[in-house]
Symmetry: C2
Subunit: 500 residues, 2 copies
C-alpha cells in the first residue's frame, strides 16, 4: 500500500505515475520505468476508484518510498484525496491497440473499432507511443470514405454535444495557417445582427501565435461552462467561446498532442476532427475556408480540391450542410499578429476606424456573405450587401459589445513594453509575406503565452516600400524575448518577398 | 537566466527539462509543455555546454520559478554543476526528421540518411513520438536489402567498438522468447576451455523475467569498463559481461524504449540491432539461434526461414561469418526462471550435478558444437563430442570459475522468503508450457528487479503428472508479489497444456 500524493506537474494530458526507486529495490514491486500501471483505492463509502498511467521512477524527495505521485489529470481522474491508501499493479495495454496494429498492417477498421479505440484514448489509456501508432495508421494507410465517416462518427460519440435545436445553426471554420486571420470575431456579430444563430466555439493556438479563443480572451471571458454558454446564445444569439472548456472533442484534444510534433500530412484526421467539432457544437450549416498559398498550410489548388471533396463527402454522411471556400493567401491578414494586436484589428474593423485593416474587413464580409446565403437568411446573391450594411450601420459593433458583456468583459492589457522596428532590406513592391516564418517571429517574441507580444505589420502585401523604411514592429514582454525574435527576423530577411 | 537543478528522475533515456509554470506566466518565456528546448550555459573555462530535451511544466516545489530542472541523463549530458547559470530557447526539430517523414511516405533512405538519423537519435534529439515515427517507418515500409545493410552499418558506426584482433572471435546469440534459456553461461566456458576466444556481451531483461546479464550478475560483476573487459578476455579468453555498460549500440538502446511498447513485428530492426551488436563487440564468427514455437517469439518455420535469410544476407555484406540455427521450443529451458534460480541451473550443469536440467545441458552442447565447427576449432563433425568432453571433464566448470574470479565474484543471494506451489489441474502428459505466460508469472513475482524472485518448475515438458501434483513453485520477495503472481497463474490454468 502507498500513500497518494498529488504532483503539480502538467503533462499535457498524459497520466504520469511517479514512484520512488527504493520502493522497487526494497522488493515491494517488480516495475520498470514506462510500464503502464493501474493505481486503485477505495473511498470512505467503499467505492473503488482507479486510474491508469505511465510509470516514472524518481530518486529524490518528489515522492517518498511509501508514496505514489500522480500528475494533475491522473490525480483528478482517480478522485481520491491526497494521503489516501492506494495500490498499484501492472496494467496490460488496452486490447484496442491490437486494432491499431491491424490497421498499420493494412486492415480496415469499422465503426465499433473506432469507438473502442477512441473510448480508450479519452480514458487516457493510450501512451504517447500508442497514440503515435494510431495517428500514423490513419495518416499512412489512407482511410477509405466509409472508414473516415466511421472515424468522424466515433469522434462525435466520444465527446459531449451542445444542442441549440433544429436550426439553422451556423458555424464557420478556417483550416488555419494564416497569422492574424481573426475573421470569426467580425463574421459572428455580423451574422447574429442579422438574426442568424452562431454559437461559435474556437480553439486556442496549437502551433500558431494566437487562436481565436486567445484573441477573444483578451476582450472577454471565453472559458464558459455549458450553462453560461447556453444563456449567452439565448440572450444574444451568438457567442465566441473556447471549445476546450466544453469537452466537445476530447479524443481530438489528446491526439493533437502527438500529431503536432509529427508535422505529418494527416488529412483524414483534420477532416474528422473539424467536422466532428462542428457537429458536437450543434451546427447544422457551416462554411469552411481553405486558404491556399505558398507558405500556408495548403500549398496548391489541387490539394485544396482534394481536401474539399473529402470534407463534402463526410459532411453529407453526418447530415451537415457544408460550403467549402478556397481562398488565396499571400501573407497575414490584418496588421496585428498575437492576441492583443489582433484584438485591436478586430475592434478597428467593427468600429469602422480609418486605420482598420481592409483585408480583414473584406475577407470577413466575403465569409459572412457565404454563411448568410448558405442558411437562407438572404436572397441567393444578397449576402455581401447585407453583411456590409450590418457592419457599416454599427449593428455588428453593437452586437459584438453585447457578446462581450454577456461573456464577461476584460480590460484590454497594456502594450508590450519592449519593441523594435525591422526595416526593409530592399526597395520594391511587397509580393508576399511568409506566413509560417512571420508566425515564428511572433512566437519567438512570446505570443500567445504573453498576450501583448507579437508582430505589428507596418506595411503589407502590394505596398511599395523603400530600403530602410519600417516594415514591421516586434512587441515583447521582456528584453531577451525581443532579442530572440529580432535575431530570428534578422536571420530570415526573405520573410518579405519583393516583386509581382 | 535560470539556476540549473539536477532532478533525480529516471526517464528511460528521454531528456526531460522541467520549468515552473510561473516562469512562463511572469513573461520570461513563450514555451508550451512538450516543446523541445535547448538548454545552454558557459563553464568556468568559457566553454559552451548544451543539451536538448522535452519541456515539462510544474507548479510545485520540484523546481523554483528561477530554476530549470534536468533529468538524470540530460543533466549528465549538459555537464554543468547544479546552480550553474543557464538559459533556454525553443529548439527546432532535427532536420533528419524530414528523412523519417519521407520514409513514411514510401521513399528510400541511403547510408548518409541512416547515419544522420541515428546520429541525432544517440544525441537524444528525438522525442518519443519521433522515435516511434522512425521505428514504424522501418517496420511498415519494409526496408529493401540495401537499406537494411545501410541501416546496420549506421548502427555500427553510431557506437563504440571493441577490438580483439582478426580472430576468429566467436559469439552466439539467441533471439529470445524462451524463459530460463541461459545457454550462454554454459557455452562460453566450454568454448573458452577449448581455446576459442569468446568476449561475450549480453543484455539485461527487456520484457523477459531475466536476461543473461541479469543472471550472470547474480554470480559476478557484469558492468565491466572496457579496460577491465579487455583484461578479463586476455587473461581467461572469455567474459560474460553486460553490453549496456560498453556503449556498443547506443541507437538501439534508445529505439528499444519505443519499440517495446509497440509490440510490432520489426524484423528489420531486430536483424540490424543483433548484427550490429555482434560486430561492435568484435566478433568475426557467430551462431544465431532462432527458437520456433507456438508461444515463442517466432511462431512458424516459414517466419524463421524468412528471418534467417535476412540475417545471412546482411551478415555477408558486413563481413561476419554467421550460422543460423532454427530450434524447436515447447516450453522454458531448465528448472529456474528469474536471475537466481537460473544461475543455480547453470551451476548445476557445469558441476554435473544429478538434478541438473538435461535440456539446458543438451541445448548448450548443441550450440557449443555449432560454434566450434564454425570457427574451425574441431573437425567438421567433431563439435558435440569436444563440447561434451569439455563439460564432463570439469574443464568448463573450472573456466567458468576463472571468469567469475576475473570479473569479480558475488555471494549468491538467499532464496526468496515467500513461496507457494501451484498444483496440476489435470492428469496427463505435459505437451507444452506457455513461454510467454510463464514469463508473466515470474515477472509478476518480481523478476528480474528482485533477483531471487521467479518460478521454479517442478515438472517439465514430456513429464506425466497426476491432478494435484506440484507443477511449479513461485518465489517472491514479499507477500503481495507472491499473491499477485499466484492470482495470475490461477487465472491461466492453460499455462500448462496436456497431451501429445
Amino acid at each position: 500500500m502507498f500513500r497518494l500524493k498529488h504532483l503539480h506537474i502538467d503533462t499535457l494530458r498524459e497520466h504520469v505515475i511517479m514512484i520512488h526507486q527504493s520502493a522497487v529495490r526494497a522488493g515491494n514491486l517488480g516495475f520498470n520505468p514506462l510500464d503502464r500501471v493501474h493505481v486503485f483505492g477505495i473511498d470512505a463509502t467503499g467505492k473503488r476508484h482507479e486510474v491508469i498511467g505511465v510509470l516514472n521512477f524518481c530518486r529524490d524527495q518528489l515522492v517518498g518510498p511509501d508514496e505514489i505521485g500522480l500528475s494533475d489529470d491522473a490525480f483528478a481522474d482517480l478522485g481520491l484525496p491526497s494521503g489516501a491508501q492506494v495500490n498499484a499493479t501492472i496494467a496490460p495495454a488496452p486490447k484496442s491497440v491490437d486494432l491499431v496494429r491491424a490497421k498499420l498492417q493494412g486492415e480496415r477498421l469499422d465503426r465499433t473499432a473506432f469507438d473502442t479505440i477512441l473510448g480508450d484514448v479519452v480514458r487516457h489509456r493510450y501512451s504517447k507511443v500508442e497514440l503515435a501508432m494510431f495517428v500514423l495508421a490513419c495518416a499512412m494507410r489512407t482511410l477509405d470514405l466509409e472508414e473516415l465517416v466511421d472515424f468522424t462518427r466515433a469522434m462525435i460519440a466520444a465527446g459531449s454535444r451542445l444542442d441549440f435545436g433544429p436550426g439553422p445553426i451556423a458555424d464557420k471554420h478556417c483550416i488555419g495557417g494564416v497569422p492574424g486571420h481573426r475573421t470569426t470575431m467580425v463574421v459572428v456579430p455580423i451574422l447574429a445582427s442579422l438574426g442568424v444563430v452562431v454559437p461559435k466555439t474556437s480553439s486556442r493556438a496549437i502551433t500558431s501565435p494566437a487562436g481565436t479563443a486567445d484573441t477573444m480572451g483578451v476582450l472577454a471571458d471565453v472559458a464558459l461552462p455549458p450553462a453560461q454558454l447556453y444563456r449567452v446564445v439565448k440572450e444574444v444569439g451568438a457567442c465566441i467561446a473556447w471549445g476546450g472548456a466544453l469537452d466537445l472533442a476530447p479524443a481530438d484534444d489528446i491526439l493533437i498532442t502527438v500529431e503536432r510534433p509529427m508535422e505529418m500530412d494527416t488529412e483524414a484526421q483534420m477532416v474528422a476532427s473539424i467536422l466532428a467539432k462542428k457537429k458536437t457544437a450543434g451546427a447544422t450549416h457551416a462554411v469552411i475556408d481553405i486558404p491556399v498559398g505558398q507558405t500556408a498550410k495548403v500549398r496548391s489548388h489541387a490539394a485544396a480540391t482534394r481536401l474539399a471533396a473529402l470534407f463534402s463527402a463526410v459532411a453529407a454522411q453526418i447530415d451537415l450542410h457544408l460550403e467549402i471556400l478556397t481562398t488565396e493567401v499571400r501573407g497575414p491578414i490584418g496588421w496585428g499578429i498575437g492576441p492583443r494586436l489582433e484584438a485591436l484589428d478586430v475592434l478597428a474593423v467593427l468600429r469602422r476606424e480609418r486605420e482598420a485593416p481592409q483585408d480583414l474587413r473584406e475577407k470577413s464580409l466575403y465569409l459572412a456573405a457565404r454563411v448568410l446565403e448558405l442558411v437562407g437568411a438572404v436572397s441567393p446573391s444578397g449576402g455581401y450587401r447585407a453583411a456590409q450594411q450590418a457592419l457599416d450601420s454599427g449593428a455588428a459593433e453593437r452586437l459584438f459589445d453585447r457578446i462581450v458583456q454577456a461573456q464577461g468583459p476584460r480590460a484590454l492589457p497594456p502594450a508590450a513594453p519592449h519593441r523594435c522596428v525591422i526595416e526593409s532590406p530592399a526597395d520594391g513592391r511587397i509580393r508576399e509575406i511568409d506566413c509560417w516564418r512571420m508566425s515564428r517571429v511572433a512566437k519567438h517574441a512570446g505570443a500567445p503565452a504573453n498576450v501583448a507580444a507579437g508582430v505589428k505589420l507596418l506595411r503589407t502585401v502590394s505596398d511599395v516600400v523603400a530600403k530602410g523604411e519600417p516594415l514591421f514592429e516586434i512587441h515583447a514582454q521582456s528584453a531577451p524575448q525581443l532579442e530572440f525574435s529580432r535575431t530570428y527576423a534578422a536571420a530570415h530577411p526573405n520573410i518579405i518577398a519583393f516583386g509581382f
